[in-house]
Amino acid sequence: MSAARERATTLALSVGFLLYIESSAYLQDLGTLVIVYALLALGMYLPLALCGSLSLAYNAYAAIGAYVVAIFSRSAPDLLMLAVPVAILISMVTAALLGFVTRRLSGFHLAVATMMFGIAVHTWLLNTDAVTGGATGIGDIQTPVVFGWTPDRSSLIGLGVMLVWLIATAIAGLRGSLVGIAMRAQRESELAAAASGVPTAALRILALAAGSAIATLAGMVLALVNHFVLPDSFTIKLVFLVLFMPVLGGLATPWGAVLGALVVVAFTFGFDFFQGPGGLTFGLLTLGVLLVAPAGLLGGLAALGLRLRRGFAAARVPKGAR
């Protein structure tokens, strides 16, 4: 599919999704969840698919986004818009630091360091009552005033959907750009890429920082739409759930991550089902996809489409010509 056609199709699907969830408050809740998960999954997708770096601190980055918004709303409501750059900056610096410390080590080191950071942030949220409100979190988060306009819930959700579309489109563009190609080259063979002058470690750190910024946006959407934050929304469990999305959807395009988010929410209706056999099912599905069909759902659909088209083409050829 050409880039322009992909953009048009996905934009149309996004608008359709937005119109569909407009119809009820319940669907809007689920839609918000899709947006939050999709942003988290896109944040994870960027370093994972382009650089092969698996970071597991996405609960922490989302928490930074949500809590910075909450703290600004509580202490300096007039400056709420300022929370956006502040939170993104904190996340990016942390992600870059974690990436820098493990830059010469294996992907396993990065995974463990980021996982420990995620756990430490959750502990901090629970135990630092003065700043984070402890186990009860922070409520009454205000809606930001954007140039004199106060968006209502529906507009916020609409903004969230557009954000997902923009970021997925941007990542798709990045994949094909020179930077994206350099990132993928260093994933295939770090030595060869480094020998060709690709700054491998710097690119990986850049991708990790960009991914963390996207995940921070997810936390902000969650805090602004729900008007409250709770520490237990940001446990390590969130990371596992989000990890499955890009894999299930397919790693070949960022839209796989979005599709994965949609599928997970559609099949779990939120977090509760995931506590029981649902989590096991998704874990097994992910393992199965990794082992048997690494292209994921979108890859499978593309292969099916190709086969159908070939089938039609073959059928159209007259018998004598074979």
Partner: protein
């Protein structure tokens, strides 16, 4: 530091060391840092605790079930996941993803099979010894003794045993070992099964010490990994040294800073080791 604190510190260190030894063997055999290992330990521990909760169940049966579960998971990891995957993808991140997914699957299996409630296992042997005015449970002595015995056996096996020596060859250079005609696949499998066995025993020893739940595996995986990184891969004893160090730092921080700081101290420790000495205290030099 009080003596009783020292005893518990040594015992915890022995446990972390045991998990670190599991990491060590698995890494040498497959080149994969298997942090699903914490989940093997947790599953064996929770299974043992759950079976032994019923006073009529024989301990022997509970032990066999728990340890074989850990060995089974290790076997599935190698033959069901890592080897088939290595045939189709060559980059590392597929293995990292699969290991994380597997870790989650085992966690969910444990919560489905044994419930979410933390379970405390029955002591393997009862009674208390008094040494120099200090009362120590036989269970604690047993845990430390079994750990030391496992380390000694593994060290001797790697040095003199048939498969142990082949494992060192495979770990140093898999391609060279293959071209020399070593049965790489079988050597890997043997090492992986031994890893499962060690994890099973570690789970048995941990279950009577503290109540375990299906979520305990994360801290096992993390602490065992730090023990391995801190110790290095130079000798099979390195994870034990690393485990003792981690345990000492953990209990010192709990005593002087407070128990809440555990996660922060461990994070700081891991980041310090990663940035200053990621190769660990004991290293090996191998011509590639």
């Amino acid at each position: 530091m009080e003596l009783s604190l020292l005893v518990s510190c040594i015992e915890t260190g022995a446990f972390y060391g045991l998990v670190g030894l599991g990491y060590f063997l698995f890494l040498r055999a497959t080149g994969v840092v298997n942090f699903a290992m914490g989940a093997y330990v947790m599953f064996a521990g929770v299974a043992y605790a759950s079976f032994s909760e019923n006073p009529t169940t024989s301990l022997g049966l509970a032990i066999i079930c728990a340890v074989s579960a850990a060995v089974l998971f290790a076997w599935i990891t190698e033959d069901g996941i890592l080897r088939p995957m290595a045939l189709r993808v060559h980059d590392e991140f597929g293995a990292v993803m699969a290991i994380v997914a597997l870790m989650f699957v085992i966690e969910q299996l444990a919560s489905l099979a044994f419930g979410a409630r933390p379970l405390l296992g029955r002591e393997l042997i009862e009674g208390t010894a008094v040494i120099g005015g200090l009362a120590i449970d036989f269970q604690d002595l047993l845990a430390v003794a079994v750990t030391m015995a496992i380390f000694a056996v593994v060290a001797i096996w790697l040095k003199h045993g048939r498969y142990g020596r082949m494992l060192r060859a495979v770990g140093d250079n898999e391609h060279a070992a293959r071209s020399l005609g070593l049965p790489v696949r079988r050597v890997r499998l043997v090492a992986v099964l031994v890893t499962g066995l060690i994890c099973g025993v570690a789970g048995l020893l941990a279950a009577p010490q503290a109540a375990l739940s299906f979520q305990s595996h994360l801290s096992f995986a993390i602490l065992g990994f730090i023990a391995l990184v801190l110790g290095g891969v130079g000798t099979p004893w390195a994870p034990l040294v690393g485990g003792m160090l981690v345990s000492a730092i953990e209990s010192a921080s709990a005593r002087y800073i407070g128990g809440f700081a555990r996660d922060y101290v461990l994070l700081a420790l891991a980041l310090t080791v990663f940035s200053l000495r990621p190769e660990g205290l004991f290293t090996i030099r191998v011509r590639a």
